[in-house]
Symmetry: C2
């Protein structure tokens, strides 16, 4: 099908990334919007309208016929009903997402958890290729998780498994974000939101640092800003990234002991920090995880960076098209 | 094979339990010894001799022919080589356990991780029967873990997975036990060893309690003693059990979010505390785990109590006999 393509859409907690993707998983067009509010009590219609607008935009510019759309959304999906059962960072709980989108777009629609989509892309085409057991963490507004065992995405008894970001590593730690009732979760300590929280704390304490000066000049201390200043060499910003990396390492150590994976892939927007984040994490794994697992595992960045989720959503859509095709 | 039986042996960190078991998984004789030292740097030969002695004792009293022996040992087993790769609580690292035992006993021998054996028994015949995804924790000297996914024990890429006891729930928590390099693990906070550690702390602080009086009279504060006093109604001892139960609940919440299991089975010697331990754990799960998983999961005691591991080892031996039988 040379003249056909699909659209992959990755809806995160605060960012929306979508692309037109062909059967070889090449991206022809991409678009990103920061527009969606991180408000789990907000309006589902607003979110759905924004998603429709993005798909329509890509469809109008596509050089090939768009034959299906894949969505990765930050929610637990009941695959039997096509309903988003629980959503920590978006107002999508109990929304029959797949049916609504398919009806409004007039196209076959596939929907899965955003981290599952990212994991699928990395397993099939990226950093987890050729592994038997693979674990992925997507560090964004929240932390998503995905697990592949023997070639299959692990979903648990109801499709609600692999919520790896909501593993407590600090029993009396800070409250988690969004709809999560827990505290001291990996997400509460090592997500992009946690990076911003720690960045603000350090900015207040280290007035002479570039981070402190940014705060004094009225800049909002975001994870992206901390990362930028860390890459520029600011010591305070680097310490914040290293702290997040060490916490990440505790979470990864747990996952290494639990899953004995061949590879742990770290993706999502926070991975813009690169080795400044990943190297402290690896050091913690080397100190804390059990043998033989800790010597065996590779802890690596996602091959597709912040695009894993979008590509995975596209891959799901391509799968659906293939199943639809006459034998 | 009405006149045949197997022997199942469960080697824990400090206890050794063995039994003669028929094809219907009925136990005909059982024997228990507290003799083996919890010394991972001790002498492997001493441990192996003790295991041989137990098997010989059961064999001499068995009314049926013993046709195979199954061992559950607290170690990671490399099933391709039959070697214990890593052992937190026994001096068995790099010991070719299966080959030695088979040679010395002159019988087919099967060996697996002790918690995997326990999980298998509960999945096939006990509290996890008819589940799709099941998680088991065995609370003894240490904490063992087992996971069944879609009817199969989950082992990870090297057979070293499901080390659920070495999941950190307190990043700066107390050092773990045995050979574990980590600290703040579930095992460090909620095992039988942790129960004894907390019991001693509370006994020193609460001099008027039955626990404090036991300490003053020179009794060793063990997990078993704390449990006994808690059942007798001592408030201090009950508080210790409840504390361990709440920590256990944090660990179970993590496992509920990670695996979305139908059931979490809690076994091992510490489960002598029963609902005094399990009810606080369930309350924490109800507060901290995500939906829909937390409403779906059952958190239940092992059906076979402290005998799950021994029965699972016997079941593995029965499987081996069945495979051996002519078609």
């Amino acid at each position: 099908m040379p003249a056909e393509c699909v659209i992959g859409v990755d809806l995160g907690g605060t960012k929306l990334l979508a692309g037109t993707v062909d059967a070889g998983l090449r991206v022809h067009h991409r678009t990103q919007r920061p527009a969606l509010a991180d408000d789990p009590k907000g309006d589902a219609a607003t979110v759905l309208d924004a998603l429709i607008a993005v798909v329509d935009e890509l469809r109008s510019t596509a050089e090939m016929e768009v034959v299906a759309v894949g969505f990765g959304i930050p929610a637990l999906i009941d695959q039997t009903r096509g309903v988003a059962v629980m959503a920590v960072h978006q107002p999508l709980a109990e929304v029959p997402f797949g049916a609504i989108m398919s009806e409004r777009l007039g196209l076959p629609v596939v929907v899965d958890n955003d981290a599952n989509a990212a994991t699928l892309a990395e397993y099939r085409f990226g950093a987890a290729r050729d592994s038997h057991t693979a674990v992925m963490l997507t560090l964004g507004t929240g932390i998503g998780g995905g697990v592949v065992i023997d070639g299959e995405l692990f979903r648990g008894s109801q499709g609600a498994g692999a919520e790896l970001g909501h593993m407590v590593i600090e029993t009396d730690g800070p409250p988690c974000f969004g709809n999560c009732p827990n505290h001291g979760c990996l997400e509460a300590l090592a997500s992009g939101s946690a990076l911003a929280r720690e960045g603000l704390r350090v900015a207040r304490a280290a007035e002479d640092s570039a981070l402190g000066q940014a705060l004094a000049m009225g800049q909002e201390i975001t994870g992206a800003l901390v990362t930028e200043l860390a890459h520029d060499g600011d010591r305070a910003a680097r310490d914040v990234i290293a702290l997040i990396g060490m916490r990440l390492g505790v979470g990864i150590s747990n996952l290494v002991n639990i899953f004995n994976p061949d590879v742990v892939v770290v993706g999502g927007g926070v991975m813009a920090a690169g080795e400044l984040l990943l190297e402290p994490a690896r050091q913690v794994v080397a100190q804390r995880a059990l043998q033989p697992s800790r010597s065996h595992v590779r802890v690596v960045p996602a091959r597709f960076g912040a695009e894993s989720g979008m590509l995975g959503a596209a891959a799901l859509a391509l799968d659906a098209v293939e199943k639809r095709a006459p034998a």
